[in-house]
């Protein structure tokens, strides 16, 4: 149990993991389910339990497309995609790679990159 970590994720994401009623709608609606080791409902559950290491070590968190289908469909307003995003952010910060020079950005951004991804990247890397 790692409560500090849990609180930080909850604070960063603004999501309400304790509201989850374990219906599995997020996983049912996830378009990239097959690629994941852990699935959206598990992300939420693991954060709620404070199960840090396994979740942060898992590549699953980077399989999330941040399509927000789970956020849209969740009947309890848990917002799993935001939780996952916060976990990703936490991983990146732990690695210390939380600085991105604005000059790096245009090269990395390709024309087809959705605006959402840009905003996500900025949130992730900007200090």
């Amino acid at each position: 149990m790692n409560n500090d970590w849990k609180d930080r994720i909850v604070r960063m994401s603004g999501a309400a993991v304790q509201k989850c009623m374990r219906c599995g709608k997020c996983s049912a609606t996830c378009p990239n389910y097959g690629e994941m080791e852990y699935h959206p409902h598990q992300f939420v559950y693991m954060v709620e339990r404070g199960d840090t290491e396994r979740l942060m070590a898992s590549p699953s968190i980077f399989e999330c497309l941040t399509c927000f289908a789970c956020v849209e469909r969740c009947p309890r307003g848990v917002e799993p995609a935001k939780v996952i995003e916060a976990v990703r952010l936490e991983v990146i910060r732990q690695k210390g790679a939380n600085h991105l020079k604005p000059d790096d950005l245009p090269a990395a951004a390709d024309e087809d990159l959705p605006g959402q991804a840009l905003v996500t990247a900025l949130r992730k890397f900007a200090k």
Binding site: M21, K25, A28, T29, Y33, P75, R76, G77
Partner: protein
């Protein structure tokens, strides 16, 4: 100098755990006028009440303050005790130190201090109390039941059995409600029509029951024992007294493409129709939106074939005014609209249906005569997916926050019946939890899974996608296998949440009955007075109070009837003596009070007054009818001269409380 007694209740540890009751009794004992101040573990108990009575007699007390639970709980208990000891019951005041003190504070010192202040406020108030005597009002021995579903039917039958006349007002052309649309009922699988229609016939035949079908309550005035209701009897263009229900007109009517509400639009009816074969009253109704004669005056076929001359194209709405002693709300429910959940493709595919539609599809009187066929192509479905909790247990933004209670069981029933009738069908039920509290309920659900081979899958359906070949791709999660599934289904059934009837809100306003945030009627006490509304004389029956199944509805309906019978069997009701009264010397006859009074309780009299100079002057002064006044106090504030005041909550009393609190 008045003599007061203060009694502090421990309520076991409910109060004593956070409030130092001894200190409260001691502190209040030092207040002027208090001659006796004591504490006791349970003031409401027999011995506690005796303690109060003895103190009243021994010290010949003029007033009593009881520091205990909410006055909404035990005010009457203590008033009765005081009356038995010879003290006017309205010389009792309660300081609420449980709900509004001990239960909401954790700090003992803080809570004790607050309890003392609340006690002081009550003392300040009781010093200004005046002895009051309650007036009496007669009881109209007739009940009104609003809603003719199983709840309303059962309540009406029970009241009528006790010998009181009852009117059932039903907005549809027939009574029967939702239960009439059901096929079988869980957990015994008896046919809904077989057990409901005899009751409907009983209603029609009972001489104490008058069925006002196709009618709506428009206005309710009055108070417990003396309500007056205006009931709009909507025009059905068929004379109810003449129509024999032979159905000839419904066969001859040329307008054949009217969606049939009774079958939820899954087949058609005529413009003149009888809702279903066992309708009560079995009287036809002409639908003015479709009838050619009513729309453009061309047809009149039904009137030609009617052998008794019951068709009346000129019929208009009439308004019936009737007096009642008690009113029962039994307005029932509606399934929610499921179109908003786009992921289930209800609006895109005919083969995604609600459970109530499924019920009609399996009913022998339904659009398919009881054969389960896909609405799109009329073929037999081989794979059926049931989805639970559609719109239930959500955030308020996503749907209903409550559990609709009946879905788990009716889905088990649907799944079981499907497997029994069509063993070649695969049935999947996606559930979050299976909730089966109730007699023989869990056994029933287990039978569906164990004996009938229904596949129960813990998980949710993410989306339903209609495919080119007419089947439905159901994408779902299986939380136990931890995998995502795709099921190729022929039919998807949505267990839609239920919500109170849309008419209930308007009715609640009319009845001044309170509702919760979901538009369910609130009961006077959630545990101890579950069938009464907080408004005296208004009773609750069935789902309008909260989701419930048929057995529960029937027992609540009978409980409700018992309460109504209890009320109607009284000849007189003692009223509330806390009514407004005017100081005639101060009243200047401005009429402000009369214009704000919602009950019309204030009239003006021309009265002769003897003036200080011994002359006589006729002045116009307000006079309150205590039987009609309900004691809201609106007039007391509207009165510019301060002549109007309220017994029990007078200006001086409330200000004394304010002073005591702010000290």
């Amino acid at each position: 100098m008045q003599k007061l007694g203060v009694f502090v209740c421990h309520c076991g540890t409910n109060i004593a755990a956070t409030v130092d009751v001894k200190a409260v009794a001691e502190a209040l004992g030092r207040e002027p006028s208090v001659v006796v101040s004591t504490d006791y573990p349970y003031m409401c108990s027999e011995s506690g009440q005796n303690l109060i009575k003895d103190a009243i007699r021994e010290h010949s007390l003029d007033g009593v303050v009881i520091c205990s639970c909410s006055p909404r709980m035990h005010e009457n208990t203590f008033r009765k005790a005081a009356a038995q000891a010879g003290l006017n019951p309205y010389m009792v005041e309660i300081a609420n130190i449980r709900e509004q003190c001990s239960w909401i504070h954790k700090d003992r010192e803080e809570a004790t201090e607050k309890a003392i202040v609340l006690g002081r406020a009550a003392i300040a108030k009781v010093l200004l109390n005046t002895p009051l005597t309650a007036g009496e009002s007669p009881v109209t021995k007739r009940a009104l039941v609003i809603g003719g579903g199983i709840a309303g039917i059962q309540t009406a039958l029970d009241i009528a059995e006790a010998g009181f006349p009852v009117d059932i007002v039903e907005k549809e052309p027939t009574i029967g409600g939702k239960m009439a649309q059901l096929d079988k009922t869980f957990p015994t699988l008896d046919c809904a029509a077989c057990i409901l229609t005899p009751k409907m016939v009983d209603c029609a035949q009972n001489e104490n029951i008058r069925i006002l079908s196709f009618s709506e309550v428009e206005e309710v005035t009055g108070f417990v024992g003396n309500f007056t209701a205006k009931i709009r009897r909507k025009a059905r263009y068929v004379d109810e007294t003449k129509c024999t229900g032979c159905g000839l007109c419904t066969e001859k009517c040329p307008v054949k493409k009217v969606p049939n509400e009774f079958n939820l639009g899954m087949d058609n009816r005529r413009a003149v129709y009888i809702p279903f074969a066992q309708a009560v009253p079995k009287v036809a109704r002409i639908d003015p939106d479709w009838c050619n004669m009513l729309k453009n005056g061309k047809c009149g076929l039904c009137s030609k074939v009617c052998t008794v001359g019951a068709i009346d194209y000129k019929q208009t709405d009439t308004v019936l005014e009737e007096h009642y002693g008690a009113i029962v709300a039994a307005t029932g429910y509606e399934p929610i609209k499921v179109d908003r959940y786009g992921e289930y493709a209800y609006a895109q595919s005919k083969d995604v249906i609600t459970s109530l539609e499924f019920e009609r599809l399996t009913n022998a009187a339904g659009p398919t005569s009881g054969t389960l066929l896909r609405p799109s192509d009329g073929r037999h479905p081989h794979t059926i997916v049931f989805i639970q909790c559609v719109g239930s247990r959500c955030t308020p933004e996503m749907g209903k926050t409550y559990c609709s209670k009946i879905c788990c069981m009716y889905t088990a029933k649907h799944a079981m019946l499907t497997r029994e009738k069509y063993p070649d069908t695969d049935v999947y039920v996606f559930y979050i939890d299976v909730r089966t509290p109730g007699k023989n309920f869990d056994e029933f659900y287990r039978r569906a899974a164990e004996e009938y081979g229904v596949h129960y899958i813990k998980g949710a359906v993410g989306k339903v996608m209609p495919r080119a070949d007419g089947t439905l791709d159901v994408q779902a999660s299986d939380l136990i296998m931890n995998e995502q599934l795709h099921i190729n289904a022929d039919l998807v059934v949505l267990a839609a949440a239920i919500e109170p009837s849309k008419t209930a809100r308007r009715l609640a306003t009319m009845l001044t009955a309170s509702m919760d945030t979901n538009d369910f009627f609130t009961e006077a006490h959630p545990k101890l007075r579950p069938v009464e509304s907080p408004t005296a004389g208004i009773f609750l029956s069935g789902v309008c109070q909260g989701p419930k199944d048929i057995p529960e509805t029937v027992s609540q309906a009978s409980a409700c009837a018992a309460k109504v019978i209890g009320l109607l069997s009284k000849n007189k009701l003692t009223g509330n003596p806390c009514v407004a009264h005017s100081d005639e010397w101060m009243c200047n006859g401005c009429s402000n009070c009369a214009s704000v009074c919602p009950y019309g309780a204030i009239t003006y009299l021309d009265k002769d007054f003897r003036m200080p100079d011994r002359s006589t002057k006729t002045r116009r002064v307000a006079s309150v009818n205590p039987a009609v006044c309900q004691g809201c106090g609106a007039c007391t504030v509207a009165c510019p001269s301060g002549a109007m005041d309220l017994y029990g909550f007078s200006n001086s009393q409330i200000m004394a409380e304010v002073d005591a609190i702010c000290k």
